[in-house]
């Protein structure tokens, strides 16, 4: 278990102070895939580096399986880091070493005999599906292959935890999907607890169990992905979850509401029912289905008619039938993209 208690990180320059992290507390349970999402500059990369003390927090405690990192001697800290693998957006492979030697690297540091290290490296190459590339150099690999090697390398010392810092941000959508599948596999098969840092909601909803949303150096909300997805509370969470809905000031018309439904409720009758029961035409601004933890989640943004009587008929119907919805405030944020809606 990783416990972060009141973590602060303040960078001091001669003239000013900048808080990259402000009193952040999180608990990451064993066996889960935990996501941390936020826009760039929110502090998520700093936070993940506090977990293995690549960045020393200026305040608070990092406790991993009961041992507090700030109290460890340097040697103990280096040893503990072998239990926490890490992969990066830029892959960070050793360019002058072959794929096999890259994977052996952490084992060399740990003093594992060469033959054992190479045996382990070959097993891992098989796991990540690159057995034919052991003699290749990183420059001969594609981005996705490089990240696979980086994953194999991070897993070589059999860590309990794996930290992923924007690990898929430099990859195309197909490659991203296959790397995410690999990460899910590793989580299930090897029982590795994974912490994922990302700015992309699709990464969170395709593999994470729980998520923390970060904005300007603080965590604004934490919860199960399905929960946060269905009912984002903070402004930043709403923004991240509805990235497709860009700000369009010029859109006019009635109130917009967001409906969430999961795979168990069938959606098309719901929509038809609303229209039939209230006798009000509805405009669909946006709709999509997401797979969260193996369940289908749909979301739809509807625009209600401008006249308030029709609009309240729809709202009353939703309330009467216990259908959850959120009202999107008009103006600058969360306004549907009209051009997209028409298409």
């Amino acid at each position: 278990m990783i416990e972060l208690k009141n973590i602060s990180k303040i960078y001091k320059t001669k003239k000013s102070e900048f808080a990259a992290l402000n009193n952040v507390s999180l608990t990451i349970n064993d066996g889960e895939i935990f996501g941390i999402i936020g826009l760039s500059g929110a502090g998520k990369s700093t936070l993940v580096r506090c977990i293995n003390f690549l960045e020393k927090p200026t305040g608070g405690h990092v406790i991993i399986d009961g041992s507090e990192l700030g109290k460890l001697k340097k040697k103990e800290l280096l040893k503990l880091r072998r239990n926490i693998g890490m992969i990066f957006q830029g892959f960070n492979l050793l360019e002058q070493r072959t794929v096999l030697k890259n994977i052996c690297f952490p084992l060399e540091i740990a003093g594992v005999p060469k033959a054992d290290a190479e045996k382990r490296a070959r097993e891992l190459l098989q796991l990540v599906g690159l057995s034919d590339k052991e003699k290749a150099y990183p420059s001969q690999l594609s981005g996705g292959q490089k990240q696979r090697v980086a994953i194999a390398r991070a897993l070589a010392p059999e860590p309990k935890y794996l930290l992923c810092d924007e690990a898929t941000s430099a990859l195309d959508p197909d490659t991203t999907r296959s790397i995410l599948e690999l990460m899910r596999d590793i989580n299930k098969k090897l029982d590795v607890t994974i912490v994922v840092i990302t700015h992309e909601m699709k990464v969170i909803d395709s593999i994470c169990d729980r998520v923390a949303v970060m904005d300007s150096s603080v965590v604004t909300e934490v919860g199960d992905v399905a929960e946060v997805f269905a009912e984002p509370k903070s402004d930043i969470a709403k923004k991240l979850i509805l990235p497709e809905l860009k700000t369009v000031e010029s859109i006019t018309g009635g109130e917009r509401i967001r409906l969430i439904y999961n795979g168990e409720s069938s959606f098309s009758p719901l929509l038809s029912n609303i229209v039939l029961a209230s006798g009000v035409p509805l405009n669909i601004l946006y709709a999509q289905t997401k797979d969260i933890e193996g369940r289908a989640y749909g979301e739809m943004i509807l625009q209600l008619p401008e006249d308030s009587r029709s609009a309240s008929r729809v709202r009353n119907y939703l309330k009467a039938n216990n259908i959850a919805y959120t009202v999107l405030e008009g103006g600058a944020e969360n306004v549907g993209d009209a051009s997209k809606a028409v298409g």
Partner: protein
């Protein structure tokens, strides 16, 4: 061919000059790296964004290197002759020249090494740190191996520079092509000898450059 040139060749002076130049250059470069490589790495490692910042040490080394680098070689050479006497017991001849060359080249080599090692991707260093690598592990297994192609290119440039220095050593009692050009060419108004020495130097430099670059290219796995 002039009479003088013929005589120099027949007496083996020219051949010896070539050999002395090559041998002084390589031996001096070797020893300069023996001290300059650790010094360059140390400057890089202790710098503000290095893997183990030690500000005071870094500042001292940096200033020392700068002082020695800013003294013109021919003056530095004369200045370190007493040190040569202390180390090899004489201030004359090739042995003494090698000592002065090494002392003069160490700061230069240190800067070369520092700039090569600095080029190693910070992300790769961070990855090594995340695996629990100690500073020594990082120096031995990341910084030097990853900078190897750049270090070889640096060594080639250093060789050529030290070869130039070794010619200057001819003015204060060293051997080699520099000495021949000065003693038999310049001082006896025989420009042919000077030009022959220049041509021979050019050939040696070309060979070093060509071989060195080929080795550097072969070692670099980034362009495989």
């Amino acid at each position: 061919m002039s009479e003088m040139l013929q005589k120099l060749w027949d007496n083996g002076i020219l051949q010896l000059g070539i050999w002395e130049t090559v041998y002084m250059t390589f031996i001096s470069t070797f020893f300069a790296y023996l001290f300059g490589l650790p010094l360059g790495v140390l400057i890089c490692v202790t710098s503000k964004d290095g893997i183990r910042p030690v500000t005071w040490l870094n500042r001292i080394l940096d200033v020392l290197v700068n002082i020695f680098r800013s003294i013109p070689f021919i003056i530095l050479m004369v200045a370190v002759l007493p040190a040569a006497k202390l180390i090899v017991g004489t201030s004359l001849g090739n042995k003494a020249m090698i000592v002065t060359l090494v002392l003069a080249a160490i700061p230069y080599v240190a800067r070369m090494v520092e700039s090569s090692v600095k080029e190693v991707d910070k992300g790769v260093i961070e990855a090594a740190q995340s695996m629990g690598a100690s500073e020594l592990d990082i120096i031995r297994k990341v910084l030097i191996p990853e900078a190897k192609p750049a270090l070889i290119v640096g060594a080639v440039i250093s060789l050529v520079t030290i070869l130039g220095y070794s010619a200057m050593a001819g003015t204060i009692g060293g051997g080699g092509l520099g000495m021949i050009a000065i003693t038999y060419g310049y001082q006896r108004f025989n420009s042919e000898i000077v030009w022959i020495c220049v041509a021979l130097t050019i050939i040696i430099v070309q060979l070093i450059q060509e071989f060195g670059m080929r080795i550097a290219g072969k070692t670099d796995k980034r362009t495989a």
